[in-house]
Symmetry: C2
Subunit: 353 residues, 2 copies
Amino acid sequence: MSRFFSHKYDKLKAYVPGEQPRDMQYVKLNTNESPYPPSQSVIDAAKQQAGLLNLYSDPEITSLTEQISKIYGVSRSNVICTNGSDEALNFAFMAFCDQDRPIAFPDITYGFYPVFAELNNIPYEEIPLCDDFTINVDDYCSCGKNVVIANPNAPTGIALSLDKIERIIASNPDNIVIIDEAYVDFGSDSAVSLINKYSNLIVVQTFSKSRSMAGARLGFAIANEELIRDMNTLRFSTNPYNVNRMTMACGVAALVDNDYYMENCKQIIKTRESTKAKLIDLGFEVLDSSTNFLFVKNKSISGERFYKELKARGVLVRHFSKDKITEYNRVTIGTPEQMECFINVTKEILGEL
Amino acid sequence: MSRFFSHKYDKLKAYVPGEQPRDMQYVKLNTNESPYPPSQSVIDAAKQQAGLLNLYSDPEITSLTEQISKIYGVSRSNVICTNGSDEALNFAFMAFCDQDRPIAFPDITYGFYPVFAELNNIPYEEIPLCDDFTINVDDYCSCGKNVVIANPNAPTGIALSLDKIERIIASNPDNIVIIDEAYVDFGSDSAVSLINKYSNLIVVQTFSKSRSMAGARLGFAIANEELIRDMNTLRFSTNPYNVNRMTMACGVAALVDNDYYMENCKQIIKTRESTKAKLIDLGFEVLDSSTNFLFVKNKSISGERFYKELKARGVLVRHFSKDKITEYNRVTIGTPEQMECFINVTKEILGEL
C-alpha cells in the first residue's frame, strides 16, 4: 500500500477471482463458465461492431435495454445494463446502503458482498446459514437492514422458493432487497415478476453463465423505475459508456437466440443431475443444486487435498478456505465429456487413497 | 430520486455525455471520436475472441498490460488497464482523495472531475483559468492538494509544456498529481517519462481518441508500482474482469499497428491546422489546439446560436452552457471531407446573418 492510499480502505480486502493458471491446459470447472460457445449471431454481431469501434457506444444502451425489457416483460425504464453483474451489484450497494443503512447477507455466499460493503464503508451483518446450508428466511424478515441474497445461493447451489423470497421482500418495506439471480436459468424461480408489486426489490442477473458471455462482461438489474433511475445516476457519474459497443450488440443477439441458450441450460441441468448421481455412488455428499455447479465433499478426502489432486491431474475446481466449507469443493458443470473426465479422475484419486 | 437513495449523493449531478441524436444522420463532430476506423487486425482480433465469449477474460489483463508497457517503455507493474479512462480516473480519485485529501483542477476542464469528486465525497477546488484560457502553473505549485490536470486541456485544446507539468509534480511531493493525457497523441509531450522520477505522478491515457476505439472502452494509467497496486486493489474490489475479452485483444492489436494510428494522428493534425486557418479567415477566434478538436467563437454569432444553426443543417458540435465559455463551441476534427462540409455550412450560416 502506498503512503497516498486513502485510510478509508484500511480494512478492504480485494475479491479474489478463480485462478486462471497458464502452465497447462486444464479441464476448467472452477469459474462457472458455460461450456457452450455463444451462438453464431452473437459472433456476427461482435464482428459487425468491431468495424465501428471509433464511435462511442450508445450511453442510453437503448437497443439492449429494449430487448431485455421484451424478454422479461417489463418496461425499458425498469432495466439498467452494466459491465458485468458485479457493476450492477456495486451500484446497488453504493446507491442504497451507507453508514445509516447497513446490509445483511448469509455468511456463506458470493464472496463479493463483503468486499462491496467494505469498499463503500457500509456496515454489514453476515448471517449464518443453517447447518444444512439453507437460508433461514426468518433471519431476514423485518430485519431492519438492506438485504442481498444470491438465489440460488453460491457456492452452495441451493435455491429458495419464490414465496420465501417474497416474504423477505414484503417484510422489509423500508429497506432494499437485492436478489442476485446469476444462476436463475438453471432451475429456480425469478423474482422479476415481483418488481411492480414491491418498490424495494432489485433483481440482478448476468449474461456470464446461462448466456455464454462471461468474457463479454454484461449484467443487468430489473427494478421499479425510481430505483433504476438512482442506479443510472451512479452509472452516469462513473462511466456513462460502461457497456462497450460489441458487448451491447452481442447481448441483443443472445436474447434473439434465447432458445439456443435455454436449450443449453437444459443440457447443463441434465449433465448436473447425472454427475450428481455418479458422485453420490462414489460416496460424496452433494448439495441440491439449482445452478451450473455442484458443491461436494467426501469424508475420505479433505476438500483441499481433493482440489489439489484434481489440479495435479489437469482438472480445476474451486476450493474456498473458509472454515465452514473447507471440506467442500465447487465443481462447475461442463460438457458431458468434461464431466466424464472429472468423474474418471475422481475415481482414480479415491482409488489411490 | 427514490426514498431509498443514500443522502451522501444529495449534491451529486451526473455527467452529461455528448448527445447522440437518432433523428437523422449527422456530420458528428461533437464527441472527439476519431473519423478513422480501427485497423483490420483490430477487427480480426474482435472476431476471434467473439467465439470464446463463454470464457472469462484474464483478470490480470496480462497480454495487454505487457504490450502497453513495451510501447511506453515501462514495466508491467507500472500499468493498469480500465474500462475506458474514466474508470482509471475514478479509481485514482477513490484511491488517493478523501475528506482529508482534497483535489484541485481548473474551472474549465473535463466535466467529469467535479462529478468524481462529488461521487466520492471529496472536497475540491476549481481554480480559474487565465483570461486566455491557459493554466497558471503557479496556482498548482505547492498547493497542498491533490491535482488533476488534463494535458492538453479540454475543451480548450491548449497544452502545457512538460517542464511546467514537472514543476507542478515536483512541488507537490506529498500529494498525487494526475495528468489526464486523453489527447496527448495530437501534439503534446507525455509525462510518462517522469513516472520513475516522481512517486506521486499518475498518467492516464485512453484508446478512445487517437486509437479509434471509443466504442471498445479501453483506458490505462501509468504510474509507479505502488500507486498501480493501490488502484488494482480497487479494480479487484469493484470488477476484476473490468476489461472484456474482445476489447483486450483489440487493444493489443491496436498497439501492434501503432504506426497506422500515429499516421492518422498526423492527418488529423494537418486537417486541424487547415480548418483553423479557414475559420480564422471567416472571422473566428480559434484557440491553439494540441488535440483533435478546436475551440472556437465568432463575435458575429452567439455560441448557442452557432451550435443550433449547425445542428439544423446536420452538423453536430459541442456547446457548453457554462458562463465563461458559452460563446464557444468545441469542434471535433473529422476527415478532410467532413471538415469541408463543416466549413461550407459555417459560411452559409454566417452569410445569412
